[in-house]
Every structure is written in C-alpha cells, then in structure tokens.
Symmetry: C2
Subunit: 162 residues, 2 copies
C-alpha cells in the first residue's frame, strides 16, 4: 500500500511542476519567449526547447519508446543558448513541448507498481544490483527537481518590463 | 524493502539540492549576497533568509521540535524583499541557515520508516484519513522542489558581472 502511495506522491509533484511550467509558457507571448531570464542568461525560448529535449529523452530512459524529437537534443542540451536557436520557430517548439509531455505521461500511466522500481536505461544491470535506488521512479524525482529549477528561472520573465 | 528504498531516494534528492544550494552560498561573497537574481527581483540575501525560514518551519511541521529562528519567518516569508532585510547581517543569516539545516537533518535522521508515512502537522487527522499521501515524506518531496526552484535562480548570480 505504501508503494502505491509513494508513486502517487512522486507523480503528483511531477504533474504539479509540469503544469506550473506549462501554464507559464502558455501565458508567455512569442515576444516573451525571446526575453532572457536575466541579463546575458538563457532565453525562455531556449528553456522551452531544453525542457522538451530533456523530457523527450525520458521516453527511452524509462523504456517507454523512442524519443519523438531527437533533432533538438543536441541544440538544446549540449549547446548553450545562441544563434542556432533561431532556426526553430516558437510555434514548433511549443507544439513539441506539448507532444512530448503528452506522450510521456500517457506512456508513464501504463507502468505497473513493480515496473516503477525496475532499473532505468542509463544504469547497467550489474550496477543496478548494487544500487537499486537507480530505478524509474527515481528518474521522475530528479526530473521534477530539474523542471522546478527552470520554473523558478522562467518566473523571472513573468510581468517583466520590456 | 521498497519503503526503505524510496526514503533513501527522497532524502538523496533533498541532500543533493541542499548541498548544491549551500555550496553556492559558500561561494558567494557578502557583496554577491546583495545582488539581485535579475533586475528588480529578490536578492540572494533575501533568498538565504527565505530558505532558512522555510526549512526552520519544517521542524514543527514534521513534529521534530520548535523552530530555531521564528523571528525571521515573517520577514522572509510573508514580506517580499525590501529595506527591512537590512536589519539582518549576512553573517547572522549564514549562521542561521547552517544551524537550521543541521538541526533539521539531525532530527530527520531519527525518524523511523513508519514515521515518514505518518501525517505532517499541517493536516488534520480527519483529512489525513482521506488523504494519506499528506505525510512527512511528502513534505521533503515538496521542499526539495522548492529549494531546486530557488537554486536555479541563485545560479544566475554566479559569475555575474558587477
């Protein structure tokens, strides 16, 4: 019973920060997306692509399928914000953000209680034997903290003067 | 066994973000603490007091004792950043941050597995019967996301030009 409870707790927190962040992106105009969270720092547009890329990679990490938009992984994860981001339209990035989160949450809903405690695909079976906390549920805990981190930054753009 | 594993997972994430944030505060000079995370937004000094106040209130919330520094709760939680923060020295705020986290983590270490799944003190026994996810472990999940949120903001001050 506690196992089910803990999965609910972890998924509730994930969904809470995903919704808070999604609500912010929906409030932002395309002009807002071009703003930097602080002088010389990432734009909201870059963070939109970055969070989409990180969530897209959760599909294979959790054994839930292929990523939907592998083309953006390099540009929004390995490379810092810059001119290369101009080749992506805000409309495309908004659509991909929505697609990825929907696909991910739908796929996550199929996982059984036991599957949540199985290893994720970035850890070998040998290492998992020694470190059983490196399971799929732990990926959600870590990615929730990651989205909360960037949510705090994106909040700085809300109601920002031009 | 899964119960013990999940407590380790939740506490590992808490300790990871607490350490990351603490490392940042240690890197910051007193001058850095006076900087705003973005123009017109909170100073790092305010966030230092804010996180200390929120963590201090976790002591009574988790049934682990009285808060150590109730005097700062109002000034760093209910009130936004402003001139009233000047009456606190950075040295005092740094010391309180350290004291509170040490006291909190020492007290948390005494909780048994079953106690982590007991209600926290902001929920009534009646409500907890209906919503058993509102337990002590859930407080840690939520406060980890909270510290990650502000950690993302504090990072913006790192290496910031004067």
């Amino acid at each position: 019973m506690k196992d089910q409870l803990i999965i609910k707790m972890v998924l509730d927190a994930w969904n809470q920060y995903l919704k808070r962040t999604d609500d912010l992106f929906l409030q932002f105009t395309d002009q807002d997306l071009l703003k930097q969270i602080a002088p010389g720092k990432n734009t909201a547009k870059y963070l939109l692509g970055h969070l989409t890329a990180v969530h897209d990679r959760m599909l294979p990490l959790l054994g839930l399928g292929q990523p939907l938009h592998p083309a953006i992984h390099e540009d929004f994860e390995r490379r810092p914000d810059g001119d290369h981001v101009n080749k992506y339209s805000t409309a495309d990035l908004r659509r991909q953000w929505s697609e990825v989160n929907t696909a991910l949450n739908n796929a996550m809903a199929t996982l059984t209680l036991d599957q949540w405690f199985e290893r994720h695909n970035a850890v070998s079976p040998e290492d998992f034997n020694k470190e059983p906390h490196r399971n799929k549920l732990n990926v959600i805990i870590n990615r929730t903290n990651h989205v909360a981190w960037h949510y705090g930054q994106l909040l700085l753009i809300k109601n920002k003067e031009e």
